[in-house]
């Protein structure tokens, strides 16, 4: 017994019922007016197996509406296949001031067959009794006056109860679909989390690697200090290499016949004048050398080579 139906009173639901008591929770016993029943002897052991057979066994007895199937075994060991429309039950309950949301467990009158002998009075015109071994609504006038009747009470409650499964019409999700979707989402979520955990471990290793990369020099630990040191050294390296490249390129232009007259070089700019012979062959060779040395503004005229530019 679950906490839901621990103290819920048991009500007998039948068509003659005028009003459902205003209780926060209750369990229901459905009269045969709300279900169809077929009793079969089948060589199946478990209820879930029998339940799979219910649609085919009750095929001729149910209409096109939404149907829920339930099975239970009676004292003789026969399988009782039951079909009912939960929406119809819900509508009837609502029309009598009740609500399907307040129902904990429900039962079929057939489950308490032994208790309906003698019959239970439903109204002035109807009783619920057993006819040919099946619980049936019987017109009251068919009973002899001397025949006794009993009141419906908690003693009628069978051991096995059922729970209402909501239909989609009520706006609730189908149980199996939602459980399957939830399972898939959970598995995916956990798989993602596991992958995230792997990334987190790799992240910790990467942080250790970063610490190691910084080495033992404390001046290189701060990114601002490191950037400043790097920038300073890089600037010196770039400009001084450029100065030396210019010196080297100008040095290549000098020879026994070409002489350097004047040179001024700083990290920002350079200017050089050279004396060169008027030999076109030598002039072409000098032009080629100057081009290869990336010297700028090279002018050769009147035995003088002039070049000036900046240092990159």
């Amino acid at each position: 017994m679950s906490i839901w139906d621990a103290k819920a009173p048991l009500l007998l639901l039948h068509r003659s019922l005028k009003h459902v008591p205003d209780l926060p929770r209750y369990d229901l016993m459905l009269s045969p007016q709300f279900y169809v029943l077929k009793r079969e002897e089948l060589p199946v052991k478990y209820a879930f197996q029998a339940k799979k057979l219910a649609p085919s066994i009750l095929e001729d007895l149910v209409g096109d509406g939404p149907v829920t199937y339930e099975v239970f075994r009676d004292e003789e060991g026969l399988w009782n296949f039951v079909a009912f429309d939960p929406d119809a039950v819900g509508h009837f309950l609502a029309s009598r001031g009740g609500s399907l949301d307040r129902v904990g467990r429900f039962y079929f009158a057939e489950q308490a067959r032994d208790h309906f002998e003698p019959p239970v009075v439903l109204s002035t015109s109807e009783v619920l009794g057993v006819v040919n071994g099946t619980v049936t609504v019987i017109p009251a006038k068919l009973l002899s006056d001397s025949r006794t009747t009993v009141s419906f009470d908690e003693a009628f409650r069978p051991e096995q109860g059922f729970a209402f499964k909501r239909s989609r019409k009520k706006g609730a999700l189908d149980g199996r679909v939602s459980m399957a979707a939830a399972a898939v989402l959970l598995v995916l979520g956990l798989a993602y989390a596991a992958e995230g955990f792997r990334y987190q471990r790799a992240l910790q290793q990467a942080k250790v690697s970063l610490e190691n990369a910084m080495g033992s020099d404390p001046t290189l630990r701060g990114s601002y200090a490191r950037d400043a040191i790097h920038k300073k050294y890089r600037a010196v390296d770039t400009t001084q290499r450029a100065v030396r490249e210019r010196l080297k390129a100008l040095g290549r232009l000098t020879s026994k016949v070409t002489k350097l007259d004047r040179l001024t070089i700083t990290p920002e700019k350079y200017q050089a004048v050279m004396s060169v012979p008027d030999d076109p062959k030598i002039v072409r060779s000098l032009e080629e050398l100057a081009k290869n040395g990336h010297l700028e503004g090279v002018k050769i005229a009147s035995g003088k080579l002039e070049t000036a530019g900046g240092t990159p």
Binding site: D101, A182, Y199, L210, L220, R226, I229, L247
Partner: protein, 132 residues
């Protein structure tokens, strides 16, 4: 509550899923950032160490002092070496001496602030200001 238990379960599962996805992508993003940062830092430190080695001033003072004796003393017009700066002038250098001197200066890890070379006939005058 019970009526919507399927929805609740689905909602919780969805939240677990969203949480898992968010956690995974956050961690991946952080890892990528840290790995990139580690790579940059390692490269930068390596660069600094190489540059420090190239432009190392260890023993430089002595090497700079040798520039005075690389040519005959008569050619050294002035040689002022103080702190981390050199101001020097060499005069009447022949072509070979000029080559030797400029090659030597260029090979030292000095920061050449200004150098002028002037020719007078077959002789050269070199003025140089360097720091380190």
């Amino acid at each position: 509550m019970r009526r919507y238990q399927n929805e609740w379960i689905l909602l919780i599962a969805f939240l677990v899923f969203v949480g898992g996805v968010a956690y995974r992508y956050t961690m991946q993003s952080r890892l990528e950032r840290t790995v990139a940062q580690a790579s940059t830092t390692r490269q930068q430190i390596q660069d600094i160490q190489t540059l420090k080695k190239v432009w190392s001033t260890q023993g430089l003072k002595e090497k700079v002092a040798q520039l005075r004796s690389i040519v005959p003393a008569g050619n050294v017009q002035s040689f002022l070496q103080k702190k981390q700066e050199l101001n020097a002038e060499w005069r009447s250098l022949n072509g070979q001496q000029l080559n030797t001197l400029t090659t030597r200066i260029a090979s030292l890890p000095l920061q050449l602030q200004e150098m002028t070379i002037e020719r007078d006939g077959e002789n050269y005058t070199v003025r140089c200001r360097c720091t380190w």
